[in-house]
């Protein structure tokens, strides 16, 4: 005992009484015992599970991942068919989860930001509309929002034969008769209960020139931005960077398109035997999950943004006004950068929530990781392995998001100085 205590720094080394009475020693012993017990517990659970599986003759192990899946999946970002392997089926599910999570996060951030700023607007109507939005979506479970959009909105659309064309109407039907023309400028986009159909561009030979134009436009925009900033620092003169960039990024590819002899065709959706064929079909399962998650999470983001802006003291705004800075630049250059420090940590949680809520896809048959996993679980009988895959994948996605957002947070707090 005495020799033990000599290894310990601080009061323990000088103590003459039993080392067991030393709080530091005791806490270390307690922790070691706890860790050992925890390890034993896990070891026992794993052993118990494999034992019971073997006794009941239930197959176990991850070998099934290399077997033929045999089932088809409704929506896939990579080539997939019933001859593909379980491994590929899980990858399809993971990509579908990421697709809805990323698009949902972007849309929720935009809506949330606008609504959050809108709640602080001086305009009474905008303020009230934004408040109603937040209170409605924040207080409904996300599953109900998904069901509402899927069953209440998208299922109620007409069938494939009576698809609605999306376009600009040239006339309007009023109780007093038609005003304008009974015609529509269509975009060859259609809406029915099988989803949203839009034309798909087909890139023929020579299309690389358009991509090259786009890249050139992006590079030149960055250069213009740097040059304009340097000049403003030196002389105080401003330059319309935004307008120039838009012109460059849109104009150069357009120029390339004509120079290459218009190499892009459009694959337009047309009515087939059963449904519209051709073009891109955005399926109602994706659409409703994406919209529901975006709208639901946006209500929380709006509150976070509002809190962030209110968290910047009023004196900052007054000081900016006193220096003659206008309202727009004040918000953009002074309030928001400071508010971001308050906004980002809770925003991270909302992004993680959205990603995890995407597993509600299973209720409407969107083929995400959980839905495909359930099918795989049932076809292969490997329940424990599938659940383990789910847990590991969601943990990885969440931790990656956290790491990125923490990095972003650190960057923002440095900018402040």
């Amino acid at each position: 005992m005495a020799t033990d205590s000599t290894h310990l720094p601080g009061p323990a080394a000088t103590s003459r009484s039993s080392a067991l009475n030393n709080p530091q020693v005791r806490s270390i012993i307690a922790q070691v015992v706890l860790v050992v017990l925890l390890a034993l517990f896990i070891w026992w659970i794993v052993g118990n599970t494999t034992d019971n599986l073997r006794r009941q003759n239930i197959a176990s192990g991850f070998g099934f991942l290399d077997a033929r899946a045999g089932f088809d999946v409704a929506q896939s970002l990579i080539p997939y068919g019933s001859n593909s392997l379980y491994r590929q089926a899980f990858l399809v599910g993971l990509l579908n989860t990421l697709l809805v999570a990323v698009t949902g996060i972007i849309t929720a951030s935009i809506i949330g930001f606008l609504v959050g700023v809108g709640r602080l607007s001086r305009n009474w109507l905008i303020r009230q509309i934004c408040m109603v939005y937040v209170e409605v979506f924040r207080n409904i479970p996300p599953l109900l929002v998904i069901f509402f959009i899927y069953l209440g909105v998208l299922s109620a659309l007409p069938g494939a034969r009576d698809s609605l064309e999306v376009g600009i109407p040239l006339g309007i039907q009023t109780p007093f008769g038609l005003i304008g023309w009974d015609d529509t400028i269509g975009f060859n986009a259609w809406l029915n209960n099988r989803g949203f159909f839009i034309p798909r561009p087909v890139f023929n030979e020579g299309s690389w020139l358009i991509l090259a134009g786009l890249i050139a436009g992006l590079v030149m925009s960055v250069l213009v931005y740097r040059w304009a900033r340097a000049r403003q620092m030196a002389t105080g003169e401003q330059f319309p960077v935004l307008r120039t960039s838009i012109l460059l990024i849109l104009g150069l590819p357009l120029l390339a398109y004509f120079l290459a002899g218009m190499p892009v065709d459009v694959d337009v959706p047309v009515k087939g035997n059963f449904n519209l064929t051709g073009g891109v079909q955005v399926k109602p399962e994706f659409l409703s999950l994406y919209l529901a998650l975006s709208l639901y999470t946006a209500s929380f983001i709006a509150e976070i943004v509002r809190a962030g802006i209110l968290g910047v003291s009023r004196g900052q705004t007054e000081a900016a006004y006193a220096l003659g800075v206008r309202a727009g630049p004040t918000l953009r250059l002074i309030i928001i950068p400071q508010a971001m420090r308050i906004i980002i940590p809770p925003l991270t949680s909302q992004y993680l929530n959205l990603t995890k809520n995407s597993s509600l896809a299973v209720a409407i048959g969107y083929p995400d990781l959980v839905q495909i996993g359930q099918t795989a679980m049932n076809q292969s009988g490997q329940a424990i392995e599938v659940v383990a895959i789910w847990m590991v994948v969601y943990l990885t996605i969440s931790l990656t998001t956290s790491v990125f957002m923490n990095w972003f947070n650190n960057r923002m707090s440095l900018v402040e100085r």
Partner: protein, 343 residues
């Protein structure tokens, strides 16, 4: 230290609670006094609650028959509604004693899932149903290339569908849900053109649609779907009980033993086969060898009737489904229902 003791005690309790109750399912059922039976969440004719909240149907009657054989009372059943995804884990984990849920008997379910199928109570095949009003001119499944097909996930149906379209070089858009109710709703709302599942299921689902007459079942049958009750591996006695309950019902139909005349036949029949099956043979231990009372078949037939009666009452001529016996007629009447002898 106190916390440590608590933890140890907790671990001990967990260890005690999780020791798996396998092996003697019969003893468990007897001591519990009820049979725990996994059935469909609601497939009219096969398993669905009636307007008094009681479960009825073809599969439900199999549960009732087993309960009658084991406990002497067909009402002593606890039903666990399971969807396609939950059904196997429910049986594996011991949550139910018997799965009677129009489940197809396949090799991998016997091996990988650790089940034993106790026979076939319905010979089925997979078919397609379309809304004929919307899709005029379609009379064959081979015309379905490009269609959206509603199917329940995790079923043999889903796999057969993929195989059939691949074999015939046709394309389709799968619309997959895990719960039967969701598939039905999607088909009804026009989300898909075609509904595919076992033909018996299609007839049952068609009845639940708003306008059943608009929908037709296409003639093609693309698979063999022998549906039967399943139990866990490793309990041969329990497997025997379920297997011979089903066989007894089929044999009772062969011999003309019905719910109405079973008591009378047991007391007055001189036919040695009838006397043996109904437990009236001198010194016979057929029932006891199964671990059941000697009058187990009398209890089954009194409780639910013979196979033919159960069929006609739930899905045949006495029901709204009006499914013909077809393959499910007795072997002596042009079908393939055939039970090994009880002796």
């Amino acid at each position: 230290m106190k916390n440590l003791v608590k933890l140890l005690v907790g671990a001990g309790v967990l260890a005690a609670a999780s020791s798996v109750a396998s092996a003697a399912t019969l003893d468990d059922v007897k001591s519990r006094g009820t049979l725990r039976c996994g059935v469909n969440t609601g497939l009219a004719g096969f398993a669905s609650p009636n307007n008094q909240g009681q479960w009825t149907g073809f599969d439900v009657d199999l549960c009732r028959a087993v309960a009658a054989a084991v406990l002497g009372d067909p009402d002593k059943v606890n039903y666990t509604p399971t969807n396609a995804t939950e059904r196997f884990t429910a049986l594996q984990s011991g949550e139910i004693d018997l799965l009677a849920r129009n489940t197809t008997w396949t090799l991998s379910r016997d091996t990988k899932l650790g089940f034993n199928f106790a026979g076939v109570n319905y010979y089925d095949g997979q078919g397609f149903m379309i809304n004929a009003k919307n899709l005029e001119g379609i009379t064959s499944a081979l015309q379905l290339s490009g269609a959206s097909v509603c199917v329940q996930g995790g079923t043999t149906t889903e796999l057969n569908l993929a195989d059939y379209f691949r074999a015939n070089n046709m394309e389709y858009n799968p619309v997959v849900f895990q719960a039967l109710e969701e598939v039905n709703a999607a088909y009804e709302s026009g989300r898909c053109d075609v509904y595919t599942t076992d033909q018996s299921g299609l007839y049952s689902i068609r009845l639940q649609l708003a306008a059943p007459d608009d929908h037709v079942v296409l003639p093609e049958i693309i698979s063999k779907e022998p549906l039967g009750p399943a139990v866990r591996q490793g309990d041969d006695q329990w497997l025997d009980i379920v297997k011979w309950t089903l066989n007894a019902m089929i044999i009772a139909e062969e011999l003309g033993i019905t719910q109405a005349n079973v008591e009378e036949m047991a007391n007055t029949s001189t036919n040695p086969e009838v006397r043996r099956i109904l437990g009236k043979e001198e010194g016979s231990t057929l029932g006891a060898d199964l671990g059941l009372p000697n009058d187990w078949v009398v209890n089954i037939i009194k409780g639910v009737g013979n196979y033919g009666e159960v069929f006609e009452r739930n899905i045949g001529s006495g029901s709204p489904l009006k499914i013909a016996r077809g393959l499910n007629a007795l072997w002596s009447k042009g079908g393939i229902m055939y039970a090994p002898p009880i002796r």
